[in-house]
Symmetry: C2
Subunit: 632 residues, 2 copies
């Protein structure tokens, strides 16, 4: 027989309810048995965020996939769980998260020291109104279907109606004897439907990244996320990284059309999938906010990105874009307006703008730095009233490309490397090692540096260097530019070949991490911000989640900042799109911010060479070369 | 040898230049030989109106087809000719028409006593600006292609750019090193082209009628008409007249789509043809103003016209429409805005609105009445500050349909009938008679009335009525409801059969003319306007040109108004579209007028039965029954 466990439900105001239950019961069932109200909009299927709770004391059950999807890494990390998905494993003290209808939806997650998070206005700009309009019956009356509908809604004019909307007016007005729901976006009529559909008001946010396209379906009334979707960007067949993608489209309009068609198709598919997941009719999606880097943004719009890929990397259009979905061939959502966030400049694209919105860096009293590590990384630094940004062309090394035994972060990829008396590699999924991924590469370099196998310059010590323990020296193969270090020996693993890091791999890593670090150093220098004045370094983007921050600092991919000041903020670009989706105030703020953020062109800056050469090197023991004087 | 002729050129200010010339010389060549400046924009090909002259004294040469096309029936009738097309045949005194660049283009023709005609502002709303924009070269500059272009034009924002325009931005900006022409319509950017294209700024006006679709290509700078196009409405295969067209589409969306596709195709074809005629690139057409009756208007937009055809005949939308050409599938003109004039109410459609604009009835100090005779006739009555309108369902009898020997106004159609001692019929083209057209029907009825063959009630006298001359009695065949009167006897014409008018034909005519006349009577009664207070009756529409107004009054198709007060104003609907094309002031005026014009629903009016029965009858000798008391 199982032992009864005690679950204490605590309210924000200090109330407490204790309930005894059996292990294995879901927290939702426990609460319901005790008559504690928990919102479970989706019917306890893990498809919404309504029932989330925070574990305050006691063992935190491992997150389910639905926790990951609905709550994101931040909240999961902080002990939030979906009550419907999580089963009691121990005596626990939990707090019910406030329902979204009250207090608003904290779409930002809740990184430490970001008190500004709460203040997002829920004003998506989409309004639905159910009215009963008169159907013209009197021949003497001078009226028309649309006028009767406008009169009923109290609106004075309709704006320009889409052709398809015009076409269905007579039928819609008469289908339910004048009972119609009128949907507007910032006053323009998007749709008129028979009957009362005011409950259905949805939007989607998308981040069209070079590597993947991810999206979220959001209830515009509650801000609740109803579904999340995502997959690799199907353009990848025409070039895995940004520059090869651009090269494919440059001066080649049919190629551009192919890229565009794939992105449009993917977004259409994701919309369909999200709508199916959440049982939402695609006609009830009225607003879609899209972010993406400048190249993806231009390609999605069908703008020739040739000049985006050539110095001075000028976009064709930077301002926010608002367009009917039909104009962008998003035919799954006939009634939606597509809003693209503005581009700051060059490669600091709409995705970076989204990250700025999400991280609220523009509201910070202290200096913060936001780093998005990717093939084209972005660095944004500043505080309230002063923001600067640059893009850092890191290249694909951190994604495992152009590395001899490099691979994506999949099962069998080495992701952690420990070098003590022996060399120990951890792989994703604990499977036998088949290669090394980006985070493994960083960790390996850091360990090799610490063990003295790698010099500050990035060169391997020679095999016959007497300062090296014999076990490590034995793993140094080749010599000079052809040196390599065996992480996994064939004789140990039973593989055909050793898994090694070559001197050339290290050089690729140095170029990549040097680019990102140069961005940070450059903005520090221009803004005159010593390292200890930076209150927080926010890591954004999918990659940031996997890297060992200690190792990243140790190799100077990131600056020498105390580890507790580094936070992972998840896909901040998508989060920013979601914020702009639920809040026109925030979407308009992005327009203003995009113009205020000062863009620094790294490569064209006179000090760049100097900074870059330094940034490519690995750091001397624990001393940040640039701000050594500023440190205690 | 030919005798020299004297041509006197007179200017508006009284100047006079006499030139001697040979017969057969074109007036243009005569003027040029005498160094008299005549504008001939099209290169003396009869393709523009630039060189038109008015013959003041001397024989007026017969008009050429180009005179008809460029000048229209009004100006041709008043002695205007194109100097390039017209050859000297006698001593002549002529006046050069003012060039369009000065004084504005008198698009209205010049009917008598319409002094208000001159005041159309040339403000099409379309602007072209040639600028040289900077091409982004500096990586530190935060700019984009569109921003550079906007800066160069001095504009602060672009409005929403069409997707295709966005897409071509990078290429267009760089093709001629930043030299671009920016075209706007009311401030919104329609197109950006490389190089200087400011000279090319065109628009089109269309009247989509039930029977025919006609259009004109206009230079938006000068107001000059560069080409006119037209043909039967290809929807006719699905129903020749309005009600059968509507019946075809009612409750049948695929049928509606067919109708729409045909109209859209026809307009696309006409645009192509007009552009070819005038050597204009379709991309340089920026504004298209379309009028049409309510059914044609709705069908062209793809709006289900079911309820337009059912009482209370409410349109789905009455207000002015402005839409990108692409949204209406007018793919020939990618850069154009389509503007449809507003509908007044029911069947008083955008075409009637065009006619109101063209005839300036809203500026008149005196009462005027505008009558458009068609299967669905419209009557608009009023003066400055007070306008009323009604539509009169005349049916197709006046187009020769549902008449035993009826036919369209083509070669061989009887168009005039004189009944004295004998019966004389004139046919179109003087060819042997094969049937009777609408104008012939009116003339025949008037003659039969005058000759006493037809009674006021519309009944034929009987064959044995002794009051009839024997020659006429002999032509009365059949009896009672089956009576008919032979206009052309088989034995005279050598045809197989007689061409007759049947009692039933007369009844159809009575229904048709009764509808139109009821409209006039009803508005007179509601507005309390006795017949002698009507200063002018303006006949609009294609049909109006052909009818004998004396006969029309004699049978009370038109009211008993002195013939000199009746003017034919041509296709006033198209003319109104042209006015709205060249003048945004006028287009906006139409919006205001459409709301101000009071619509009277004939059939639903309590007095209608009474008025209609009276209106169906033929008049007693010279007395207007309704306003007998008002007449001297």
């Amino acid at each position: 027989m199982s032992t009864a466990l005690t679950i204490d439900f605590v309210t924000a105001k200090g109330g407490r309810t204790s309930v005894e239950t059996e292990p294995g019961t879901s927290f939702l069932d426990v609460a319901r048995a005790a008559d504690i109200d928990v919102t479970a909009t989706c019917g306890a299927r893990g498809k919404c965020r309504g029932c989330r709770v925070k574990i305050l004391k006691g063992a935190v059950p491992p997150p389910t996939i639905m926790d990951e999807v609905q709550l994101g890494p931040d909240e999961v990390h902080e002990g939030f769980r979906l009550a419907c998905q999580t089963r009691v494993i121990a005596d626990t003290e939990i707090m019910l998260a406030p329902p979204h209808a009250e207090g608003g939806h904290k779409i930002l997650g809740s990184g430490k020291d970001r008190g500004q998070q709460a203040g997002i206005d829920m004003d998506s700009g989409v309004m639905k109104k159910f009215v009963t309009a008169a159907i013209p019956v009197d021949e003497h009356e001078q009226s028309s279907d649309i006028e009767e509908i406008l009169t009923a809604t109290g609106a004075s004019k309709s704006g320009t109606l889409a052709p398809d909307l015009l076409r269905k007016l007579p039928g819609v007005l008469r289908e339910k004897r004048g009972a119609v729901t009128v949907t507007t976006f910032n006053g323009d009529i998007l749709d008129i439907e028979p009957g009362d559909t005011t409950e259905h008001k949805y939007g989607m946010a998308f981040d069209i990244g070079t590597t993947s396209i991810v999206g979220a379906l959001i209830d515009l009334d509650s801000g609740e996320q109803l579904a999340s979707v995502g997959d690799v960007n199907p353009q990848a067949v025409y070039g895995g990284d940004l520059m090869s993608r651009l090269a494919f489209a440059q001066f080649d309009l049919p190629a551009l059309r192919k890229l565009r068609a794939r992105a449009v198709q993917a977004v259409n598919d994701h919309i369909k999938e999200a709508c199916e997941k959440a049982a939402v009719a695609p006609e009830h999606i009225y607003k879609v906010v899209i972010v993406g880097n400048t190249a993806m943004h231009h390609i999605f719009l069908g703008i020739d990105p040739t000049y985006v890929g050539l110095a001075p990397y000028a976009p064709s259009i930077r301002g926010a874009i608002e367009m009917p979905a039909r104009d962008l061939l998003l035919k799954t959502i006939p009634n939606a307006k597509i809003c693209m966030l503005p581009i700051v400049a060059g490669f600091v694209g709409a995705d970076a703008m989204g990250a700025v919105l999400a991280t609220r860096i523009f509201e910070s009293e202290d200096f913060r730095v936001l780093v998005d590590i990717g093939t084209n990384g972005e660095v944004i630094m500043g505080r309230k009233g002063k923001l600067m940004a640059c893009s850092a062309p890191a290249g694909p090394a951190l994604e495992g490309a152009q590395i001899k035994h490099g691979m994506r972060g999949a099962i069998g990829a080495i992701e952690k490397v420990h070098i003590g008396e022996a060399v120990t590699c951890e792989t994703i999924g604990g499977a036998p090692a088949t290669g090394i991924c980006g985070s493994g590469l960083i960790d390996a370099a850091a360990s090799l540096l610490k063990a003295g196998v790698l010099l500050t310059s990035g060169r391997f010590r020679t095999r016959d260097d007497k300062s090296l323990p014999a076990a490590l020296a034995a793993r140094l193969l080749g010599s000079g530019g052809k040196s390599e270090f065996a992480l996994v020996l064939a004789q140990e693993s039973g593989n055909d070949t050793d898994i090694t890091l070559t001197q050339e791999d290290i050089r690729q890593l140095q170029l990549a991490k040097g680019a990102i670090y140069s961005g940070v150093l450059m903005l520090q220098r221009i803004m005159k911000v010593p390292i200890d004045e930076i209150a927080e370094l926010q890591l954004a983007g999918g990659f940031g989640n996997y890297i060992n921050t200690e190792s990243a600092v140790a190799i100077h991919l990131l600056p020498s900042i105390p580890l507790e000041k580094i936070t992972y903020v998840g896909n901040a670009a998508l989060m920013g799109a979601e914020i702009a989706l639920i809040s026109e105030t925030e979407r308009k703020r992005a327009d203003v911010l995009a113009k205020e953020i000062e863009h620094v062109s790294l490569a064209a800056h006179p000090e760049f060479q100097d900074i870059f050469i330094e940034a490519m090197c690995f750091p001397e023991k624990k001393v940040d070369a640039h701000f050594a004087e500023a440190e205690a």
